[in-house]
């Protein structure tokens, strides 16, 4: 494991212990994966909440999405659901609440959801927490997720852990993930690869996706994404 990005963050003892405990072997790529893009948002690319490396990672995530679409594999986008006044904002990935939380959670332009994509909005670190994501995966008959986006040690890791707990198979293309903290990013990928997911290069993930037979999913016919209005409109003045 000497070539992994997390190696420089581990102690010598850690490397021996991971190997001796048997962790980190390659698991299984899902036979029916959904590509799952967590918080590939404009707010991570630019502005007060910008995250180093997010722009490049989101471009890599777009390549994975493109590979999936070429075989009719579902692409699911997750972002925060938030009222315009921010009362219910998921601001807990270490980012100060932005002045315009709704704009902050808009999708990055390279990953604007296409009509056949699926959009889920979250209120907690894990996209599974109090959402109907699992119901949608059952509707698709998916047996695993390819998860990209960020933050690696925040929403992405929490979602991957829940996917693992649900006995879904998880693959993570590491160049398509981003986090504010280099050490958190590296150790999240290390821990996930040890126990819960297969962490591998983007190109390998794209190759595995394009090697799947085309058209195995019954995808939506296509509809524009509709963001729900979470805050009642201010009542018109009544005289």
């Amino acid at each position: 494991m000497s070539d992994h990005i997390w190696c420089r963050f581990l102690t010598e003892r850690d490397k021996k212990v991971f190997a001796a405990a048997g962790y980190g072997v390659r698991g299984h790529f899902p036979t029916r994966p959904a590509v799952f893009l967590v918080d590939c948002n404009q707010g991570h690319v630019s502005g007060a909440g910008a995250c180093p490396g997010a722009s490049e990672a989101i471009e890599q995530a777009a390549r994975v999405a493109e590979a999936a679409r070429s075989r009719g594999i579902p692409v699911i986008h997750a972002t925060g659901a938030v009222r315009a006044d921010g009362w219910d904002a998921v601001n807990r990935d270490g980012v100060v609440l932005p002045s315009d939380p709704v704009a902050e959670q808009e999708f990055a332009s390279v990953l604007t959801p296409l009509p056949r994509d699926i959009v889920v909005r979250r209120h907690a670190p894990s996209v599974f927490f109090e959402t109907d994501l699992m119901s949608l995966l059952n509707l698709l008959g998916a047996d695993g997720l390819v998860i990209a986006g960020g933050k690696t040690a925040g929403a992405l890791r929490a979602t991957a852990i829940d996917a693992f707990s649900l006995n879904l198979r998880v693959t993570i293309p590491h160049e398509a993930c981003f986090d504010l903290w280099e050490a958190s990013h590296a150790l999240a990928l290390c821990d996930l690869n040890a126990k819960h997911a297969d962490v591998m290069p983007c190109k390998e993930v794209c190759d595995l996706l394009t090697a799947l037979p085309a058209g195995i999913f019954d995808l939506p016919q296509g509809a524009p994404d509709q963001r729900l209005e979470l805050m009642p409109a201010r009542p018109k003045d009544v005289r």
């Binding site: 072997v25 198979r169 150790l187």
Partner: protein
């Protein structure tokens, strides 16, 4: 702090600007959670080096386990004096291991039967210094989080708790996953650094950092006594 030596230079520079950003909610009615402190994770010989211990117990965290267990014992005793609820989690699996699911996918030594060495105790048994008492609450889980698939959130609400003090193992696995779910359920989170242990030194440190940055606060066991005394006796 414990994570300083594991951060990159860029991380250290950023940390000087941000400070620790995890939510610091007042803990008026905390519960003490003891996550997975079983033979499987602690090993059965207190002073054994981790690389020796994992020959018999693949998940063992070595002698750091037993240092933390001393701290947890002290915290449990204090909690009981103050009638603070103590909740334990430990693992469960069928004897044929069918239900371990994903745990078998990423580890070359899984499923190792829990009793693969004659005379070894059941790996999921909570170690005797922390043996739960009749008034304590235990959840038996199959997955990392002590909230996943078990009524932990219901129990905490029934007890009127607003927060959790987290101890146990592994810091980066089950303790961290429990911290994330406690946060999502709206409970305040305090991880007790010297009451948590992990087989990986870097994972331990960075899990505590992530909790302090995102989900709550990180404290030491001696600081936690004082706070809990104020809380439950008032």
């Amino acid at each position: 702090m414990i994570w300083d030596e594991f951060l990159s230079d860029a991380d250290r520079a950023r940390l000087r600007l941000t400070g620790l950003t995890g939510p610091k909610r007042p803990a008026r009615r905390p519960a003490l959670l003891v996550i997975d402190v079983s033979w499987a994770f602690a090993g059965d010989r207190r002073d054994e080096d981790i690389l020796e211990s994992i020959r018999r117990w693949p998940n063992s965290c070595g002698r750091e386990s037993w240092q933390a267990i001393e701290r947890i014992s002290e915290l449990v005793a204090k909690a009981r004096q103050q009638s603070m609820p103590v909740l334990y989690s430990t693992g469960r699996a069928r004897a044929d291991s069918w239900d371990i699911g994903g745990w078998a996918w990423k580890n070359s030594r899984t499923p190792t039967p829990m009793r693969d060495h004659a005379g070894q105790p059941d790996g999921n048994e909570i170690v005797p210094p922390l043996a739960p008492q009749p008034e304590d609450i235990i959840v038996y889980k199959r997955k990392p989080s002590a909230f996943f698939g078990v009524p932990m959130a219901s129990h905490l609400r029934r007890l009127g708790c607003d927060s959790v003090l987290l101890t146990g193992t592994t810091t980066s696995g089950c303790v961290r996953a429990t911290a994330v779910d406690a946060f999502s359920h709206g409970f305040g989170v305090t991880a007790i650094a010297d009451g948590c242990f992990d087989r990986s030194q870097a994972s331990h440190a960075m899990a505590l950092f992530d909790i302090a940055m995102r989900y709550g606060t990180v404290s030491q066991s001696d600081q936690s006594y004082a706070r809990t005394r104020e809380v439950w006796s008032s």
